[in-house]
Symmetry: C2
Amino acid sequence: MSTMLDVAKLAGVSVKTVSRVINNEPYVQDALRARVKAAAKDLGYIPSASARSLRSRRSYQIHMISHIITTPYVHAIQAGAMQVCQSDGYQLVVSVLPDIDGDPVDVMRERFARHIAANKPDGVILVPPFADLEDVSHWFEDQGVAVAKIGVRSTDHSILAVQIDEYEAARELTGLLVEHGHRRIGFIRGRENESATEERFRGFQAVLDDHNLPLDPSLVMPGNFHFSSGVEAGARLLGRSDPPTAIFAANDDMAAGVIVAGHKLGLIAPRDFSVVGFDDSAIAEKTWPALTTVRQPVLEFGTVATAGLIRSFEGEGPENGGERRVLDYLLVSRDSVAAPPRC
Amino acid sequence: MSTMLDVAKLAGVSVKTVSRVINNEPYVQDALRARVKAAAKDLGYIPSASARSLRSRRSYQIHMISHIITTPYVHAIQAGAMQVCQSDGYQLVVSVLPDIDGDPVDVMRERFARHIAANKPDGVILVPPFADLEDVSHWFEDQGVAVAKIGVRSTDHSILAVQIDEYEAARELTGLLVEHGHRRIGFIRGRENESATEERFRGFQAVLDDHNLPLDPSLVMPGNFHFSSGVEAGARLLGRSDPPTAIFAANDDMAAGVIVAGHKLGLIAPRDFSVVGFDDSAIAEKTWPALTTVRQPVLEFGTVATAGLIRSFEGEGPENGGERRVLDYLLVSRDSVAAPPRC
DNA sequence: ACAGTGTCAGACAACGTTGTCATGTAGGAG
DNA sequence: CTCCTACATGACAACGTTGTCTGACACTGT
């Protein structure tokens, strides 16, 4: 492995000049610059990340903090983040932060903190459910690392937030059901204390209000974004003597669960009931019928957050960050919605 | 941020002694050890990863190399790897290596090589399809990084391989179909040049042979492990005038595709045809009917590979590595298999 | 002619660890 | 009592970069 010193000797310059060339700093004449570049190439020189970060106090690492239970949603974000990291010369490190509440995991939390402190990421990407936790993002800010949150609505100063307008999207989706003639619509909530759950439900409620449709509280079921909770809630809703004609599940996995619950009762969507999901995750087109849902540009969440993060510490101005980026969603109509059975 | 020097001063010892304590090296008296530990704790001391790796030439990083197109299978491995990394104080870095063949991506390949060389991972985890590429693993060996491969059969010296016996698993799965009375069975292959495709098909063939059942070559369809190729192949098989009564898809995504293809033709599994998948990925229990499949302990692949890797460079002996670990699979019977329609 | 300014290059120290070597002490064998 | 070994500690250099400082040179405007 060759070092800067080797390159410097070959090019007949000082190490500092090599450093300047490698980092594209100004004040090196073009001729010299070319000579150094050639020498570096000849030797196959590659700067040492550890030496660089030791001296410059930049790690060129971006950490993505996720939950133990990972989902397709999170992985898509990761894919986007990785794309940008790789093309900008950063490393994407994935870390698991155990539930922030719950004492027994204190040991792991401690370990996590050490991990972060030892490696000093230049920035972190927070995905739900952590994105919703104010204290988590503040903790990182206190440590001096830039933070980007994904999928949450509210934003403080200095924290980049990337999201879609979930409220509007939920409105559109509910509107679609109403347009098809549905009047009794069930709703399956996601994990509580997450803005995704709240926003989607708010949008749903608002549209019912707009059309003067009553919201039967017994048609609102709890859920946790997982398939099994969708099956359970779906079975309860569809098994009633007065079942809703349509169900809005707060994400696709739960919507897939509703479809299966229906099958178990001999009910087939969209003939016997309609259902919509949210996210357009991989499962959405693999169910039968394929799910009508809202596509979030999840991969783009990753790229935008990462790019924003990198910009914030590569641009000198302190006025970076604190941005709120709202991306476009797309209503994807597939086959799970039709008019109610006896219309 | 406090350094070793701070700790040393507080404890009244030399930095080297602190280093010894931090790294659990021998030759420090218990009393001193305790004093140093207390001092470190008081100061909230956390060693600097970059300084440590600069000096010791160990990065404490494990890179997982994956394809641009990531799958649930890969993510499960990642989850397992992360678990071990985090508890052993390593970082898991995810990297994308663009297709190894295909010239237009040369730029990215170059970038990738730099990335690896700059960060000098202590080890890398190769997942399919890269695990099957001999030159990729040799490249890493030449760079002096330990390699663990996942899901492949053959193994050289010095490379850890983690897998299940795919051949046996495929035999068992095919046997199940035969036991149910199926005689005409279709097969949908995965990506070519991958051992997963070959092993599963070999097992399938062998069982047919054992029962003196003819293998109709027109019942063997190409595929690429993706859902859409399953839909396509399923449509072709089930649309025939003489359709097979059962279909073995080389993975779950394609099996889910077959189910959907059936629905489109008005055929419902397992009443009209049986189908099995492979992997027991997330989708397997979210389809209707739920898939009968083989569970690979994918998460465990990740933990075993990572643990093996870490052991190989933490244990001094040079006789590490080159191991082959065969883990247990599990046949998961769900609802997609029954007797053939007109038996 | 001279100070002032902008450009270019190098010398040197510093980042925070760990490896090497030297030194000191205690205990057991001869 | 001496020698040897095993244990215990510290001094110092080194890892490969980048930040700071200093200096040389070439302009410009007075």
